[in-house]
């Protein structure tokens, strides 16, 4: 069971306490969190494989109704929506489920007992979320480019802002959900919401193609705001500050509620 010979040299455990360097703590924590996401089969399915399948499927199989396309080609119509889906999948659904199970397995009770400050705990998670989002955008963007996606370059900075606002908005909602309910319920609710927002939240169907009441709602959902904003920025090079505002408001409200409801143990 061990190669240890059973005796400890005196002085082995002589106290030498001290806090580790903040940079090293943050780096180690962010690395662990990123690896956990990338190693997790269901997370990869949710954050990468399903968006990839939809991107390729909707582009190649000519599934987009002609009256929705305006003057865009299928890949141009699909890519912004799939990027919105990817952000929602990782920042909201994946985040909520991971948080629910991390709480269940007592990781925060464990980490609360170390010298790891709370802000490093949160910061490491945010850095990990940004790493995962970067990978998603690079892979999905790369595949879309290979399929013929040609965004308006002037809209790319706006798209970056939108993706960041999306991470803020969806991330706060993910923490709100994952931090307040039992892990198994989080799993069910997060997956259900993912599906509902995908179909009726303005992602695979543009808000204007939804029934009248629902289309207004969808424009103010984080999913609809992010998808429409990314479309406007990447296809027309337009500013989409109204979408950013919707996402930030969701983020502020979600975070405000989450600070009250989140239980880390």
């Amino acid at each position: 069971m061990t190669t240890f010979d059973g005796s400890f040299r005196p002085g082995t455990f002589t106290p030498a306490p001290g806090r580790g360097s903040t940079w090293r703590m943050l780096r180690t924590h962010a690395k662990v969190e990123t690896l956990l996401t990338l190693r997790h089969g269901e997370q990869i399915l949710l954050t990468l494989l399903i968006p990839l399948a939809l991107l390729i499927g909707m582009t190649v199989l000519d599934l987009v109704p002609a009256d929705q396309l305006d003057d865009a080609d299928p890949v141009g119509w699909t890519t912004p929506r799939i990027l919105a889906l990817a952000v929602m999948s990782s920042a909201f659904t994946g985040q909520a489920i991971a948080l629910g199970f991390d709480r269940k397995y007592g990781v925060f009770k464990r980490l609360a007992a170390t010298a790891l400050p709370l802000w490093v705990l949160i910061g490491g998670r945010i850095v990990a979320g940004l790493c995962v989002a970067t990978l998603q955008v690079l892979i999905l963007g790369g595949v879309a480019a290979a399929l013929g996606f040609r965004p308006v370059l002037a809209g790319v900075p706006m798209a970056v802002v939108l993706v960041l606002a999306g991470i803020v908005g969806f991330g706060a909602l993910g923490v709100l959900l994952g931090g307040s309910l039992r892990a198994e319920i989080v799993l069910a609710v997060a997956n259900l919401l993912w599906f509902v927002l995908l179909l009726a939240g303005g992602i695979v169907l543009a808000p204007e193609s939804l029934p009248p009441g629902l289309s207004t709602v969808a424009e103010f959902l984080p999913s609809g705001a992010l998808a429409e904003g990314l479309r406007a920025a990447l296809m027309h090079g337009a500013a989409a500050w109204d979408s950013v505002a919707v996402l930030v408001v969701w983020g502020v409200v979600g975070a405000g509620l989450a600070t009250r409801t989140t239980k880390l143990t």
Partner: protein
């Protein structure tokens, strides 16, 4: 360095109308090991979590390494090691990654690979936390508590769920920590653990300290009330043995096959008991004269009924 590692007095903690801790006081001198014993729900974990700064007391004073565990928590955390009850890890994190993460919080941590090897976790270094056995999870949690070379460690039921081999290993480890000057507070349900390791035992029940002292002090016979215990086949007629003994002795079968003779035990009494057994063709095994063991003391003080 003369101030105690931990000093608690008059500690009170209420949860709603229930009083979890009701005036607990104890002191842990530096470089010693204190075992906190008590039935489930006695207030052990609450006391420990207050000392760790995870909960706030309603009354009383707590000084940890001379500091306030709540107000000075940020300064204290690098100096203490904690093994929480039911504290875990990310479900998917590998054993070595988790220990590495905790080690990164310390300025001069122990070598992670060495510590995993010592605790018999080297082969499980790449195993995800959720696939570890309960005993392996406990050993990882213990490793996390000591990897930062703390001055003071809090261990909440450190050997719960461990097999006897792992338990011996942990006892050796704790003895080595203590010998190197680390102060240790542990809670346990194992009397043997407390008797083997502790400089000082504190028994609490219903939130109050009901006894404290070294294991030897706690089990010392008080005056003439000494006892003789032995094991034999169950169902002996203890009435006959009482008749054979001088006036004033009592004999009870405390559990099937376990007998206890209470009264002043002198050589004559031992001889009478063994002679009586011989007459009845009974072999008395595990004959033990003198003091009670810690479990007797514990059960006397806290009663025999089951707790929550």
């Amino acid at each position: 360095m003369s101030e105690p590692a931990l000093q608690i007095s008059g500690l009170v903690k209420r949860f709603g109308s229930a009083v979890a801790v009701d005036g607990v006081g104890l002191e842990l001198p530096r470089g010693t090991l204190l075992a906190l014993l008590g039935p489930n729900g006695a207030g052990k974990t609450t006391t420990v979590e207050i000392a760790e700064g995870l909960q706030r007391p309603d009354a009383g004073t707590v000084r940890v390494l001379g500091l306030d565990p709540h107000r000075d928590r940020a300064r204290l955390r690098p100096r203490i090691g904690v093994m929480p009850q039911g504290g875990g890890a990310y479900p998917g994190v590998r054993t070595a990654e988790m220990l590495q993460l905790v080690a990164s919080c310390a300025a001069d941590p122990l070598d992670v690979r060495w510590l995993l090897d010592v605790l018999g976790l080297a082969k499980a270094a790449r195993t995800p936390f959720k696939r570890l056995s309960g005993g392996q999870q406990q050993r990882l949690s213990l490793a996390c508590a000591i990897v930062g070379r703390p001055e003071l460690v809090f261990l909440d039921e450190p050997t719960a769920g461990m097999d006897p081999q792992a338990r011996r290993l942990v006892w050796d480890l704790l003895a080595a920590l203590r010998a190197d000057g680390v102060s240790i507070l542990l809670t346990t349900h194992l009397m043997e653990e407390a008797e083997t390791l502790a400089d000082q035992v504190v028994i609490i029940d219903r939130g109050r300290v009901v006894a404290q002292g070294s294991p030897a002090e706690l089990t010392a016979s008080d005056g003439d009330a000494e006892q003789l215990t032995f094991r034999a086949r169950p169902g002996l007629d203890v009435g006959l043995l009482i008749e054979a003994l001088p006036e004033g002795y009592t004999v009870t079968e405390t559990a099937p096959g376990s007998y206890r003779v209470t009264g002043k035990i002198d050589p004559q009494v031992v001889s009478t008991v063994t002679a009586w057994c011989a007459q009845h063709g009974v072999l008395a095994e595990q004959l033990h004269v003198g003091s009670k063991d810690l479990e007797d003391v514990f059960l006397e003080l806290t009663g025999r009924e089951l707790r929550a």
